[in-house]
Amino acid sequence: MTDSPNAPPNAPPNAPPNAPMDASMNAPEPSANGQGLEKFDPRERRPIIKLDQVNVTLGQYQALVDVSARIPEKSQTVIIGPNGAGKSTLVQTILGFFPFQGRLDFQPHKPRFGYVPQRLEFDRHMPITVTEFLALGLTPWPLWLGISSKVKARVFSGLEEVRALNLAAKPLGALSGGETQRVMLAAALMSKPEVLVLDEPATGVDINGEQLMCELLDGFKTDYTIVMVSHDLPTAKAHGDWVICLNRRVVAQGPPDRVFTPKILAATFGLHQGLELFSRDDLIK
């Protein structure tokens, strides 16, 4: 790895700067030939969620420090950052799971959320089929009375939407990581959300599952505002319209082309990660 002329400052890896870099405002304009430009500019989109100086303390640990960020509507926002950066805490705060100090504004009203958690920690030998699991939220009748054909039809169409109809009769605990993610996505979509929140959808998923998930999410982009937590930079770069770099504080936010600079990545992930990615990126170009 050669040293880059744009080497980031010698900041300690876990001490991001106090003032976040707003890549949407300060970064240079994209190249003149227009390559790498977004299909639309998320800066022009109305922010559906706005956080202002949000602080979250979990026990003795301050998980989020003065987080100010915006999430543009009908776009795919990706929150990136290293382990322990508070990515999941941030989305769960938006979902209302944690108390916080600061301001959290929804425009024009608090949206309906669909949430796909990072993983399901449940007893995998519990007898419950995928159809039963998805029917739980759709019917007031107890599962032991059976599922009506009307509810079944809704479950099947929900599964079809995430290309998982073949899983309908399977026990929930027998699904692979990717299959579980898609079933959870179906469950989230069935609640007819305005904002779809996904926590690390690529974790514990094989390569085909990941690709399928990305295709599905790209297809949903026009219908929903998607907020996705990821530590996978290529995924964030390829699919995100708007990227929030988090390391307990917001290091930067903006369109991926502006955010994925060595300086910002180094400040988010630490010195070497930024350098390495920059070099790899260079090689690809």
């Binding site: 958690p117 007898p127 039963e132 019917t139 007031p140 599962l143 032991w144 009375l145």
Partner: protein, 276 residues
Amino acid sequence: MEILASIYDFFGFVYEPVFMRRSALAMALLCLSTSSAGVMVVNRRLAFFPDAVGHSVFAGVAIALLFGFNLQLTVLGLSIVIGLTITFLARHSHLASDTIIGLVFSGAVALGLALVSREPQATSGLSRFFLGDVLTVDDGQVLALFALALLSFLFMFFLTNRLTLACVIPKTKKNTWTDYLFGAYLALVVAISVQAVGVLLVTALLIAPAATGRILSVSLKGMFWLALLAGALAGQLGLWASSQPSINATAGATVVLANVLLFCLASLFRRFFPVR
């Protein structure tokens, strides 16, 4: 009471004495309640919860005798308090639920022992809770078991889906009141079951039918109905065995043995006919 008598007649083809018919009906009603509650106990991994609540009856009996309270109401009340305490601690401390249940369990037993050791006459009231006795139930207790079965039906009707969802996706705020309601309901089921099969065996009455249902089924619906079937079958089988002169053992023990036997048969079946 005439209605009760005609229901007793239903068991007339097996048992001649009325007290046996009454016991058979009581056991059927009790097993319906415990088996359906047991499905949630097993799926929520609360197998030691009935033990902790069951053992608190010692403290309940001692308190009732010490202060001259109504025995039944004190036992039921203390059980519900213990159930709610476990639920509260499980939600509000960072300890695992088995640690909390172990703590409350020991605390309840210690309190009971401390009180009983001060009042030796309390031990006479304890024996019926220790081993239980389904053969001496009266019409009033049968009616109480009817009420419990009705409560169980309503509880399972309205809360099965919510409790099941909480097994898969825990930690949502909405589950708070469901958890407390479940804790109180389960404590009530346990406190009543203790009087039929005793403190030592009450756990089996809840978890054995559910475990049998679970091992045979891949769906929640299947588990629920198989648990009810296994519970009802084992209840009657155990009671019948207990009444046989050649066996002549306490009904609580034979009912639990029948439950364990059904579980073993289900396990063998599953071993030879695996589901996945």
